[in-house]
């Protein structure tokens, strides 16, 4: 990938400042994938507000949700400019139907118990942190600039959720049972993080995504270290369930959108 001061960093833009047409579609696809991952997971975390098992987590979960929704806003705002069709960031969040969303299936899974939510958060952050780290050198300056902020926040998410994975996995018989049950439940959804398709392959070549092998190695290392401390079995990523990047989602997404989008659907045009 091009370095921060490398002139090639802005190769995604031509001399007029417009993004080259052939890259614009791929960049748009990338922004929706990242934006939707962050929005849907952020919404799931926000569902814990007022319901967390202790006050500290009632603060932690919405705080992490806020970080995730901040990234979604950046992605949608940028996507709207690339599309140039007059859509706002709110339109992407509140007025698209389920099949238009491009997040991976793991983030839409219902929260389950606290162990399930924390393991899902840990797996997501352990993947997203090295991805943001790589994107700090992205060939698109706006994405790289945002990555410089998001990478610090995501490291904190890894720490917070990882400590809970360790605390529960290596805790009481009941907490360990629940953490293992969460791993069994989320297992089939982990592989989708590392799937590649034609779009992602072109994004890597264009310097808009880091080398997948680097991200995978960092993820494996973080998970192995944490799972060892948590007394969890080594993670094996086998055949799983996917389709989120192509807009094929579970029934659960419809229920999530019904709640998240209700206000804008019932009372169109509301703003803060």
């Amino acid at each position: 990938m091009a370095g921060r001061d490398d002139p090639a960093r802005d190769l995604a833009r031509d001399l007029d400042g417009d993004i080259a047409d052939d890259l614009a579609d791929d960049l748009l696809a990338l922004l929706l994938r990242i934006g939707d991952d962050h929005l849907i997971l952020g919404h799931r975390l926000s569902e814990w507000c007022g319901h967390a098992p202790m006050l500290e987590e009632d603060l932690a979960l919405p705080n992490m949700a806020l970080d995730l929704i901040g990234t979604a806003r950046m992605c949608y705002g940028y996507a709207a400019e690339i599309e140039g069709g007059g859509r706002s960031e709110d339109d992407y969040a509140f007025l698209r139907d389920g099949t238009d969303f491009r997040h991976m299936l793991m983030v839409e899974r219902p929260n389950g118990d606290f162990a399930h939510t924390m393991l899902r958060q840990f797996l997501f952050a352990a993947w997203m942190h090295p991805l943001w780290d790589g994107l700090t050198g992205a060939s698109d300056a706006r994405l790289a600039d945002h990555a410089g902020k998001a990478v610090k926040e995501m490291a904190y998410h890894v720490r917070h959720s990882g400590e809970w994975v360790i605390r529960l996995g290596d805790g009481t018989a009941e907490s360990a049972r629940r953490m293992r049950a969460a791993l069994d439940d989320l297992g089939p959804y982990i592989g989708e993080m590392f799937e590649s398709d034609e779009t992602s392959a072109r994004l890597v070549v264009a310097g808009l995504l880091p080398d997948p092998a680097t991200v995978r190695a960092a993820f494996d290392s973080t998970v192995a270290r944490t799972f060892t401390m948590a007394q969890l079995p080594p993670l094996e990523i086998g055949a799983g369930i996917s389709g989120g990047r192509a807009g094929r989602h579970g029934e659960v997404l419809g229920h999530l959108l019904a709640e998240m989008q209700f206000l804008q659907r019932a009372y169109p045009g509301q703003t803060w």
Binding site: L55, E56, L59, A60, N63, M64, L66, D67, I69, G70, T71, R73, M74, H129, D133, A141, R142, A144, D145, H146, G148, K149, A150, V151, K152, E153, A155, Y156, V158, R159, H160, G162, E163, T222
Partner: protein, 175 residues
């Protein structure tokens, strides 16, 4: 002669910019009123644009910090009230770090009972996720402290407790 006059004008414009910087930096943080935006180090640059207005570069602390927009509006309002045509520009890079909080700002935080952030190089490293920062109690300076909650009343703070004087306190997280 012409060159000398130009230099004089430049000096005059610099004085105006320094004045505007002072006004902008004195705007208090809406969520952490003991410090102002100058203490936080979030005003990165300012300049006259081609039309004679002043453009101020401000960088957000956290990407989703709810205070960002309020701070930008407060800066514009304060500078405009002093009679200047002003526009705030949001810049993301280089990303803000707590290392940019000034010594005066750190002293004000401590005075208010908030432990100032540790320097990045011996605080929580991004790649040793589970490293524990050794935070000093802002009241008694003891290093015998423990984290109560990784998140606090605002995105930028965690809650700690001193095991020497037993007082709870906020820690401004290292970012």
């Amino acid at each position: 002669m012409v060159a000398v006059r130009d230099i004089d004008q430049d000096f005059g414009r610099d004085d105006v910019l320094a004045d505007i910087r002072r006004i902008a930096e004195s705007v208090p943080d809406p969520e952490l009123v003991v410090v102002n935006v100058g203490d936080l180090g979030i005003i990165r640059d300012l300049r006259h644009d081609d039309g004679g207005a002043v453009e101020i570069d401000v960088t957000p602390t956290y990407s989703a910090c709810p205070a960002t927009l309020a701070i930008e509006l407060a800066i514009e309002t304060a500078v405009a009230a002093a009679g200047h045509d002003v526009r705030v520009r949001r810049v993301l890079a280089p990303a803000w770090t707590t290392d940019w909080i000034t010594p005066a700002g750190r002293a004000k935080l401590k005075q208010a009972g908030i432990a100032p952030p540790l320097p990045r190089d011996d605080g929580t490293g991004d790649h040793d996720y589970f490293a524990r920062p050794q935070v000093a109690c802002p009241r008694c300076d003891s290093l015998d402290t423990t984290e109560l909650s990784a998140f606090g009343a605002t995105a930028c703070k965690a809650q700690h407790r001193c095991l020497s004087c037993h007082e709870p306190f906020d820690y401004f997280k290292c970012l």
